[in-house]
Point group: C2
């Protein structure tokens, strides 16, 4: 199961294999879908409850209609959201999180919390690096 190249302690095993699994392949396949540009933001926004296409479009700054459509399709395909079409005029389509989708919120918050907590430090490091590069 654990395809690393050397023996490791149980603690190492837990750490490395949790995140690398079968050499990281299976995990990467999922993360490629979850960690793209808009997925986490859409899921987090839907945590409010049922929302329509235009609601999402207004509440997520910067997303285009196309990318919102694609993101919602992928989330629906992966079983993280439901898509309910009401045969009305004008049309009404409602999106909501499934239990699986909801379960993504806590780990997403953990990552978001980390990002917000360390954003200033990272920004500072980035600027220092730029100066360092400039001055040789």
């Amino acid at each position: 199961m654990c395809l690393t190249n050397r023996e490791m302690s149980p603690v190492e095993y837990e750490h490395t294999c949790m995140i690398r699994g079968d050499g990281g392949r299976a995990l990467r396949a999922i993360l490629d879908q979850i960690c793209n540009k808009w997925t986490l933001l859409v899921v987090a926004t839907l945590d409010q409850g049922v929302l329509r296409f235009t609601d999402l479009h207004h509440q997520i700054p910067g997303i285009s209609q196309r990318m919102l459509t694609l993101t919602l399709r992928n989330l629906e395909r992966d079983g993280l959201i439901t898509r309910t079409v009401h045969a009305e005029v004008p049309p009404r389509v409602e999106y909501a999180l499934t239990p699986t989708g909801k379960s993504l919120i806590p780990p997403a918050l953990a990552l978001a919390g980390w990002a917000i907590e360390h954003a200033p430090g990272i920004e500072a490091s980035r600027e220092a690096y730029a100066v360092y590069r400039q001055n040789g």
Copy 2:
């Protein structure tokens, strides 16, 4: 601070604003760097301890030398890893996590745990969706 379009309860505020923050912009800027194709895997691999370029190249399946170089450069720029060059022949370059880099491990594990836990369900949903599409 919270740029959503409607009033919300404290619980909603905590959830939505943690992840969306200033409309999601700051968070997105960081996530764009962290959530790319290889960063999490490199960080997780470096959790083992100090590693050399070729160690990483061997332990991370599928990464090319180019992408490993680029990923390491970005991580160094963001202050998540240190890069130590030993003036020897043949050259020896050692990479290690900084405290900031180490602090990324727990939230990364949270997300990785979620991905591994829900991978079968997502895979099943994906196949069911493909069948559904085929049959109209």
